[in-house]
C-alpha cells in the first residue's frame, strides 16, 4: 500500500511538473540565464497564483526576445482592475491620457500604437498638443535613462512595483517614490525626510509618522492625485474643495482639522505668491524676447523640436542653447518655485524658504538686473550704430602722447624720477607735439 501510494504521488508530481513546463516555456532557459528573475518571481504571489511568464509577457517568444513585448499597465489592469483605473485617472498617467507625453509613451518603438498618442490616425496632424520638446532634445540614451525611467510610470506599473516581485512593501517605501520625486525639480523625498513627518517615521515607521503612501495613496488607492488641490483650475472650485476635504480627512487622523486646514491654506497662499513671482519673471523674459535681446538669438540656436526657429519660453521651453535670462527663469519655475510650494505642502520650512522663496526672489532680482544690463547694452549699441559712421579710433599721435604722459606720471609716483625730471620730460613731450 505504501509503495503504491509512493508511485501514485511520484506520477502525479511528474504530471504537474510536465504541465508547468508546458505553461512556462521560459523557465527552463531563464533558470539558467536569469536565475535572479526566476527566483524573484518564484517567491512572488504571482508564482503561487500560477501567473506565469506567458501570462504577462505573452507567448510570442520571438517578440519577447526582441524586447518589444513589454508589460504595460493595461496588461496588469486585466487583473488589477481597480488599481489600473485609479492609476489611469491620476497624475501619474497624465501624459498617457492627455497625450502630452507624446513619443515617450510609445508602447512599442514603432507602429500605429505609438503614433496615435500624438497624431490623428492616418495623418501627421497632431491629435493633441504635445509636450515633449525637452524629451525630443535629448540623446536616445538620455531619453531612456533620464526621462523614460521616471515617466514610464504613465503606463508601466513596474516603475514602483519592480518587475517580477509582488511584495508591495517595496512600493510603499518612501525611497521608491524618491527615485523620481527628489532633486532640484521636486525634492519631495528630501522635504519629507527632513520634516517632522519624516523624522517621526524614521523613529517608528508608519506607527509614528506618515510616509508618502499614508497621505497620497490612502487605503492603497493608486490615484495618487487624490487630496491634491493645487493644479486644479480656479474655475473648478467644487472639485478643489472636494480634494482639500479628502486630504484633511487624512490629516485629521493625527491633527485637528482646523490646524491642518490652516497649514494647507498657508501653502496655497505661498503657491499663489510664488506663482506671481514666476509670472513676473515670465513677462520679463517675454519682453526681452520681443525686444530681440536674448542671446543666442532664435537664428543662432538649434531648431526647436516643436516650434522650429523660435525662442520658446512656455511649457515647451528647453534648458539648452538658451540665454542667461532664460536660464534664470527656467530655474525659477522648475526648481525654486517647486521647492517653495512643495516645501510648504510637505511642512518643510527650510525648503519653503531657503531652497524656494529666497532663491526665487534672488533670481527675479538677477533677472531684472540682467534685463537692465541687456537693455542698456542695446541702447549703447543703438547709439553707437545710429549716431553716425565713425572709426572711433584715437588719433595715433595723441594716443602716443597720452601713453607717454601716463608713463612718466607713473614713474614719478613710483619715485623712479624726481619732480624736476618729471617736469622736464613732460615739457619736452608737450613741446614735441607743439603744445
Amino acid at each position: 500500500m505504501r509503495r503504491a501510494f509512493c508511485f501514485v504521488f511520484a506520477m502525479a508530481s511528474l504530471l504537474v511538473s510536465c504541465q508547468a513546463s508546458a505553461k512556462d516555456i521560459c523557465l527552463d532557459c531563464h533558470k539558467e540565464k536569469t536565475p535572479g528573475i526566476v527566483s524573484y518571481w518564484s517567491e512572488s504571489r504571482h508564482s503561487s497564483e500560477k501567473i506565469s511568464c506567458v501570462s504577462c509577457h505573452g507567448g510570442d517568444v520571438d517578440a519577447n526576445h526582441n524586447r518589444t513585448a513589454t508589460v504595460t499597465a493595461s496588461k496588469c489592469g486585466e487583473c488589477h482592475k481597480k488599481a489600473f483605473i485609479d492609476h489611469s485617472v491620476s497624475r501619474h498617467s497624465i501624459g498617457l491620457k492627455s497625450g502630452r507625453g507624446c513619443t515617450r509613451n510609445f508602447e512599442t518603438s514603432s507602429g500605429q500604437t505609438g503614433c496615435i498618442f500624438c497624431h490623428e490616425e492616418g495623418s501627421s496632424k497632431p491629435r493633441v498638443k504635445t509636450e515633449c520638446a525637452m524629451f525630443l532634445a535629448q540623446t536616445p540614451e538620455m531619453q531612456k535613462q533620464g526621462c523614460d525611467a521616471c515617466h514610464r510610470v504613465e503606463n508601466r506599473c513596474d516603475t514602483c512595483h519592480t518587475r517580477h516581485g509582488t511584495d508591495i512593501s517595496f512600493a510603499r517605501q518612501p525611497q521608491t517614490c524618491g527615485t523620481c520625486h527628489m532633486g532640484p525639480d521636486h525634492a519631495q523625498l528630501e522635504m519629507w525626510e527632513t520634516s517632522t513627518h519624516g523624522v517621526l517615521y524614521r523613529q517608528g515607521k508608519e506607527k509614528s509618522g506618515p510616509s508618502c503612501v499614508t497621505c497620497h495613496m490612502k487605503a492603497g488607492s493608486h490615484n495618487v492625485s487624490r487630496g491634491i488641490a493645487t493644479g486644479i483650475p480656479e474655475s473648478a472650485e467644487l472639485l478643489r474643495k472636494q480634494e482639500r476635504a479628502f486630504m484633511l480627512d487624512i490629516c485629521s487622523s493625527c491633527h485637528t482639522r482646523s490646524m491642518a486646514s490652516r497649514s494647507l491654506e498657508d501653502a496655497d497662499m505661498i503657491g499663489k505668491q510664488s506663482s506671481a513671482i514666476v509670472s513676473e519673471a515670465f513677462s520679463l523674459v517675454e519682453e526681452l524676447k520681443n525686444e530681440k535681446l536674448l542671446y543666442p538669438s532664435a537664428e543662432e540656436r538649434p531648431i526647436h523640436p516643436l516650434f522650429g526657429r523660435n525662442i520658446v519660453t512656455g511649457p515647451h521651453m528647453l534648458y539648452e542653447n538658451i540665454s542667461a535670462a532664460e536660464s534664470i527663469y527656467f530655474r525659477m519655475k522648475q526648481f525654486h518655485y517647486m521647492n517653495a510650494v512643495k516645501g510648504a505642502f510637505h511642512q518643510n520650512p527650510d525648503y519653503t524658504h531657503w531652497y524656494g522663496n529666497a532663491p526665487l526672489k534672488l533670481s527675479l532680482s538677477e533677472l531684472k538686473s540682467e534685463a537692465a544690463l541687456l537693455r542698456s547694452v542695446d541702447v549703447l549699441k543703438k547709439r553707437l550704430d545710429n549716431i553716425a559712421p565713425s572709426d572711433r579710433s584715437d588719433d595715433s599721435a595723441s594716443s602716443d602722447l597720452k601713453k607717454m604722459l601716463r608713463d612718466i606720471i607713473d614713474r614719478r609716483l613710483r619715485g623712479d624720477i624726481s619732480e624736476k625730471e618729471f617736469q622736464e620730460q613732460k615739457d619736452r613731450l608737450m613741446k614735441e607735439k607743439g603744445l
Binding site: 542695446d378 543703438k382 547709439r383 553707437l384 549716431i387 559712421p389 597720452k402 604722459l405 603744445l435
Partner: protein, 403 residues
C-alpha cells in the same frame, strides 16, 4: 535800375507768389558795398519750396553735403537741391532738426508724450533711433563726428514767477556715454514766454571751432540796468568761463555765432542788430543797420548777416531788403554760404547762387591750431596736465595762432 526793369522784377516776383519786394534779386546788377573797390553780388535765383513751415528755432536744417534742406511742415520734409523735389517722411511730430555729417540730419520728435532722438539719411531716407533716455528739445552734431549735444529747457510757470531749467548733455560717439555738460535753474519774476527762452537757448548752437556752448542769464540788479550774463561752457573739459555781460532789458535773445566764434550777433529789445565781441567784451551798435529782426544768421564767410528779411554786412553797412514783413523770418545758410533758405510766415524760400561778400571775412583758426586745442582739452580731461598748465598752454597756443 530802370523803372521798366523794376516793374518786370516785381511782376515776376508776384507771379511767383512771393511776399517780398526783392528789389535787387534777378536784377543781375552788382551792388557796390563795403570798403572802396569791394563788391558783392546779390545775384541769386529764388524759388519757393513750401507754403507751410514752422517758424521756430530748429525747424530747418541743411545737410552738410548741401544736397538737401530738411524742414518741419505738417511732417518732416526733405527738399532735394539737385532734383528740386520734396519728399515727405512719416515723422509727423518732428520738433527740432539739425544737420549731421554728409547727408544725415538729426531729429527730435515727440512720441506718446516723450522725446525721441533719431537720425535720417536724406539720400536713402533710412531712419534710425538713437536711444538716450533723455527728453531733449534740441540736438546738435558735435564737430568731427564726436557725438551729439542734447539741450533742453523746461518752464514751470507759477503765479508770481517762473522756474526755468536749462540742461545740456553730451552723447559721446566714441563710447556711447552721456555726460551732463550744463545744468542751471533760474527763477524769473512774472510771466515768461517759453518760445523766447527756447529760442535764446537753442538758436546759437555750438561755438564754431571750439567745444563750447553758450549760456545766457538775465540779471536784474536793484540799481543798475538789467543785463544778460554770457557764459561759455566747454563740453570736453566741463569748465565754464565768464564771457562778459550785455546790457539788455529782454529776458533772453537769440544769438548767432560769427563763423570764427569770436562775435555774437543779436537783436536788442527793439529788434535792432547788435554785435558783441566775446574777447573784447564790448557791444557794437550798428547805426547803419536799420532793419528789425529776431533771428540773426551769420553767413559762413562771416561777412554778411541775414536779419529780418535783410542782408546786412557784418559791420552794419550795405543793408539790402530781400523780404517784406519778415521781422521774425529766419535765414539758414548752406554750409558753403552760396545758398540761403529763408523761413518766412508765408512759406519757405530758397535763394541760390549767392556770391558771398569777400570783404572782411572771418579769419578761421588753422585746423592744426584747433586740433592742438582739442588735444590739450583731452589731456586736461584725462588729468594728464593740471588746470594751470592747461590755461598757460592754451593761451600760448592762441597767441601763436594770432601771429
Amino acid at each position: 535800375m530802370s523803372d521798366r526793369r523794376k516793374g518786370k522784377s516785381r511782376y515776376i516776383i508776384r507771379a511767383l507768389g512771393l511776399p517780398l519786394l526783392f528789389v535787387l534779386m534777378l536784377s543781375c546788377a552788382a551792388v557796390p558795398s563795403g570798403p572802396e573797390g569791394a563788391e558783392s553780388s546779390l545775384k541769386a535765383v529764388i524759388s519757393k519750396i513750401d507754403d507751410n513751415v514752422k517758424q521756430q528755432a530748429g525747424s530747418i536744417a541743411w545737410t552738410d553735403d548741401r544736397s538737401s534742406i530738411a524742414y518741419i511742415s505738417d511732417s518732416l520734409k526733405i527738399y532735394s537741391i539737385r532734383r528740386g523735389d520734396v519728399r515727405s517722411t512719416n515723422i509727423y511730430t518732428a520738433a527740432f532738426i539739425a544737420s549731421g555729417p554728409g547727408s544725415l540730419i538729426y531729429i527730435i520728435s515727440e512720441e506718446n508724450g516723450s522725446r525721441r532722438i533719431s537720425s535720417l539719411d536724406t539720400e536713402t531716407m533710412e531712419h534710425r533711433d538713437i536711444p538716450a533716455g533723455l527728453q531733449p528739445d534740441a540736438v546738435f552734431a558735435v564737430p568731427d563726428n564726436k557725438g551729439l549735444m542734447l539741450m533742453s529747457v523746461r518752464l514751470i510757470q507759477k503765479n508770481l514767477w517762473a522756474e526755468l531749467d536749462y540742461s545740456a548733455y553730451l552723447l559721446e560717439n566714441a563710447s556711447g556715454k552721456i555726460r551732463q555738460i550744463y545744468g542751471s535753474q533760474r527763477i524769473i519774476q512774472g510771466r515768461v514766454s517759453m518760445s523766447g527762452h527756447q529760442s535764446g537757448w537753442l538758436w546759437p548752437g555750438l561755438r564754431p571751432h571750439d567745444s563750447a556752448i553758450l549760456a545766457v542769464e538775465y540779471v536784474k540788479p536793484p540799481v543798475i540796468m538789467p543785463y544778460l550774463r554770457i557764459t561759455l561752457t566747454d563740453y570736453i573739459t566741463g569748465r565754464s568761463r565768464d564771457a562778459g555781460r550785455i546790457e539788455h532789458s529782454g529776458l533772453s535773445a537769440p544769438f548767432s555765432w560769427s563763423p570764427d566764434g569770436n562775435r555774437l550777433a543779436f537783436p536788442d529789445i527793439n529788434g535792432k542788430l547788435k554785435i558783441y565781441d566775446i574777447n573784447e567784451k564790448v557791444t557794437a551798435d550798428l547805426p547803419s543797420a536799420a532793419a528789425e529782426g529776431s533771428f540773426p544768421s551769420w553767413n559762413p564767410a562771416g561777412s554778411q548777416i541775414y536779419f529780418g528779411g535783410h542782408i546786412i554786412n557784418s559791420d552794419g553797412s550795405g543793408q539790402r531788403m530781400l523780404f517784406e514783413d519778415a521781422r521774425n523770418s529766419m535765414g539758414i545758410w548752406s554750409p558753403d554760404g552760396r545758398m540761403l533758405a529763408v523761413v518766412h510766415n508765408k512759406g519757405i524760400y530758397l535763394l541760390k547762387d549767392f556770391v558771398p561778400l569777400l570783404i572782411a571775412p572771418d579769419i578761421i583758426p588753422a585746423p592744426e591750431l584747433i586740433r592742438k586745442r582739442m588735444l590739450l582739452k583731452e589731456l586736461l580731461t584725462e588729468k594728464l596736465i593740471t588746470e594751470q598748465e592747461y590755461d598757460e598752454r592754451y593761451d600760448n597756443l592762441t597767441k601763436s595762432g594770432r601771429q
